[in-house]
């Protein structure tokens, strides 16, 4: 199967059940942008280099996620509205292990 199902809550609290391809090397931030779940210019501003925090998400399901690299940790230690569930969407590559992942897009800074 080349898609996984994700449940994404946008910044207005609306829930979106979407399909994300696993064979396009896309990350969570890009999936959110491709479905236009957050306005352009308010997400993925740095292009996905973990250099802004505009794609911060709260991962609310118990999926095993790739470990944070230094750049993501550093950004999340400076960003606003950070909780223990915070991750940068741009650092989470969509794989079949993410089937059923649930997340909320963090508020805009």
């Amino acid at each position: 199967m080349s898609d996984v199902k994700l449940k994404i809550t946008d910044r207005d609290g609306n829930i979106h059940n979407i399909k994300a391809p696993v064979d396009m090397s896309m990350n969570l931030m890009e999936i959110i942008r491709s479905y236009e779940l957050a306005p352009e210019g308010t997400i993925g501003v740095c292009g996905g280099m973990a250099m802004c925090a505009s794609c911060q998400c709260y991962i609310t399901s118990n999926h095993k996620l790739p470990l944070m690299e230094d750049e993501e940790e550093a950004m999340l230690s400076e960003a606003l509205n950070v909780t223990e569930k915070s991750r940068l969407g741009c650092q989470i590559i969509i794989t079949k292990d993410l089937e059923g992942l649930e997340c909320e897009i963090a508020p805009e800074e």
């Binding site: 306005p39 210019g41 740095c46 292009g47 230690s77 960003a79 606003l80």
Partner: protein
Amino acid sequence: MIKTDILIIGAGPTGLFTVFEAGLLKLRCHLIDALPQPGGQCSEIYPKKPIYDIPAYPEILAGDLTKKLLEQIKQFEPSYTLGERAEEIIKDKEGMFTVTTNKGTKHQAPVVAIAGGLGSFEPRKPQLDNLAKYEEKGVEYIIKDPEIYRNKKVVIAGGGDSALDWSIFLANINADVHLVHRRNEFRGALDSVEKVKELKNQNKINIITPAEVIELKGNKKLNSVVVSHNEGKKEIKVDHFIPLFGLSPKLGPIANWGLDIEKNAIKVDTYDYQTNIPGIFAIGDINTYPGKLKLILCGFHEATLMCQSAYKIINPGKKYILKYTTVSGIDGFDGSRKEAPKSVVQAINE
């Protein structure tokens, strides 16, 4: 007053390449950038990262791309206003634009090209009531003159390199430093982390973690901050509160220039990337149009087309036709000339 033909706002790759295309049309350029050096994101954010989609460069570091662009435009003698942010634009009756920076430098040109990328990088501000009230009255996001903190009580918030580095620096000039961070661990260069630990052990830096500044108190100026941490709330008397939470890109004052904005970008006509205000163009990552892709190579294309229209605005009625650099060579404003070597032809005499 700095006068030029095309005033370029933003000295990233698109802005720099504009100088080249304008130069071919004998148009001079001046660039304004809020950052202290040219290159935009390529030199400020990711100079050591490779780019793989610049045509004919299988791989080039962003910093090297900047260097090569600077080399390519050198003969067109661009001038710069660096470390200043374009703040205000006024168009006079003759259609001439005057752009003033935050430091008051004035620039005049018949054509303005906004190549501002993500916008200007502004300090990320904590969400605190009354924050604006105390800005420059005890709250500073950027340390301009470290000397003003000598022997003063300072609370620094943040957990990255800049929070660590400034804590060390200010502790060393006898400031009474409290470093407040939301997490227990700090992430910074190994040296800085070690140094902060050492200063903490010498009681020269007071570290409060995991904690957050939640309230600012004062009258005309900041007097104290309230910090929330494990053991409850604590009020700390301060002279200065310095939140150091990194930088975040903002469209900034350009958003108030009367330009059509869509999706946090400037709407343009794809004929020549002109905005709704004739004479103001927007090129590179800062513009939007149907099908827009934020790629450096698209910025180069947009800059090239834009310069053709700029020529017509600056030289109304003056004929020109596109020439190829291989055929015509390049005449720099510095008197230099580059051209293809002539091939040597010789007849065989028998």
